[in-house]
């Protein structure tokens, strides 16, 4: 069943949940994935992924550990080429664009990395100022004002002078968030924005993400497995697992879903279709046989 993405999917819950149809690339979409398969070498992590993110939308991509969420983000930034299908940012196919074109597209994106990826040779202020210094010719007073404004938004204005080694992991993630949004990009990709944050910081970060999307009309993609915070701010949720897109819809649609996979994931139940055990592979069997052979 074809579903117009970005449209409100609230209403009577349908079973199985509506899955996205093929997404045509359009400059109106900040990000679109059309029949995409992703992987490393011969190993396919995700396949048949269709997704669309419009300006002003907050989209949460959820799934268990190792389900391929970060792989999806790497494809969206052009760090990873799709094995099949098309990944488009602002209507441009990332698989067809040249180096300069990719650079131009990346200037319109902001990315929050899972580990923060702060530059350890720079202090907090210089980390946030880095994109401004590289891509703009703003006077120093304007750089200072903008950086302090963003640091203020994440509650770390008074930490501007500290070295990266002097701040905690949670603070580092908030600094990385300030850096990701300092250029006020049109598309912001957040890889686990709530990981390692205390409840207060988590709530403020969630509100900040929503506020940025509303105020700047930027598209936001959250890679997360934090159900509560992401459901509170997301317009659309995609659930990935078992190497594919399992479900998609508004937070309410998914909350009301009776689909066993969706129910198990959202409620954190131990039993269900989501396997806790890592799947058995021929490579593991070969290794096991070798180990057992050594014992004899």
């Amino acid at each position: 069943m074809a579903v117009a993405f970005g449209a409100n999917l609230c209403g009577p819950v349908q079973f199985p949940l509506p899955m996205p149809d093929h997404i045509p690339s359009s400059p109106d979409l900040a990000l679109s994935l059309d029949g995409v398969a992703l992987g490393y070498g011969d190993f396919t992590v995700l396949q048949d992924i269709d997704m669309a993110v419009r300006p002003g939308q907050v989209v949460a991509v959820m799934g268990g550990s190792g389900s391929g969420k970060t792989t999806l983000l790497r494809a969206a930034t052009g760090q990873l080429q799709a094995l099949r299908g098309r990944v488009c940012a602002f209507g441009t196919d990332l698989g067809q664009v040249d180096g300069a074109g990719l650079q131009a597209l990346r200037k319109r994106m902001g990315v929050l990395f899972q580990q923060g990826a702060l530059f350890t040779d720079l202090n907090v202020f210089e980390n946030v100022a880095f994109p401004l210094r590289e891509h703009t010719r703003l006077p120093e007073s304007e750089v200072t004002a903008r950086v302090l404004d963003k640091l203020d938004a994440v509650g770390l204005r008074a930490a501007a002078h500290l070295r990266v080694a002097e701040i905690s992991g949670g603070m580092a993630r908030r600094v990385a968030l300030a850096r990701a949004v300092v250029l006020e990009p049109e598309l912001i990709l957040y890889d686990e924005p709530f990981a390692g944050l205390d409840p207060i910081s988590m709530g403020i970060t969630a509100r900040l993400i929503r506020d940025l999307a509303d105020r700047l009309h930027c598209a936001s993609v959250l890679i997360t497995h934090d159900v509560q915070e992401s459901f509170a701010i997301a317009d659309q949720v995609y659930l990935v697992g078992q190497g594919r897109l399992v479900a998609a819809g508004t937070p309410r649609t998914l909350s009301d879903s009776q689909d066993p996979y969706v129910k198990q994931f959202l409620r954190g139940e131990p039993d269900g279709p989501v396997a806790f055990q890592y799947p058995d592979t021929p490579a593991f069997q070969a290794w096991l046989a070798q180990q057992e052979g050594r014992k004899r």
């Binding site: 760090q79 650079q103 131009a104 990346r106 990315v111 990395f113 580990q115 530059f119 590289e134 891509h135």
Partner: protein
Amino acid sequence: MTGPVQTLSALGRWVRTQVSGVGFFTRFLGALLARSGIAASRPRLVSQQVHFIGNYSLLIIIVSGMFVGFVLGLQGYYTLNRYGSEEALGLLVALSLVRELGPVVTALLFAGRAGTSLTAEIGLMKAGEQLAAMEVMAVDPMRRVLVPRFWGGIIAMPVLAAVFSMVGILGGWVVGVLLIGVDAGAFWSQMQNGVDVWDDVANGVLKSLVFGVTVTLVALYEGWQARPTPEGVARATTRTVVVGSLAVLGLDFLLTALMFGN
């Protein structure tokens, strides 16, 4: 038959890996040179690296230079004394340092101090996703991170070699003139007459420049190619010292033969 075939296959694989390694290394140098415009457009990035690489290596260079000068003063005196030529001690110390020991020992120390530091820094930046973060910010990490370090190393190395030679000569003077009692006038005048600016000093500077390019390039390449794990960074750091030092010694022989051979 399996044994020889396997050996041959392993040998072929090794040769192929080495050849492709040389290819990657050459392309890496080309990529750095192609992006070197940033050194002119943002000289502050280079001067920061000259400070980091050069200033922080200064202590080890000065201390080593002093001790090498002491030893040259002692050994030189005992050898020259046999022939009654101890007045030539200043010339011997100066030529040994300016032509050979200054550039070579500085380059070996540079590989151990600044080279390892560069490799570890780049490797850890890779492991911490800092280079990937730069890339998705539309900032070329090779241009922004590697090029300033490359030129910083090239500028710092001849300066450090000059400091090493200067301190070494002073060390030779302390031992020869102050402690042993060689005539100070003879020590300095023989040096002044015997050391040629172009044949000796300029060739020494050229050597240190070549060593600076080599060691910095090896250090950056190893960091760039390092596996993004603690073990990978440790291995890359070790390779910087081994490959950098061997390259310096090999190039020294080649350059000496070209510069000072008949």
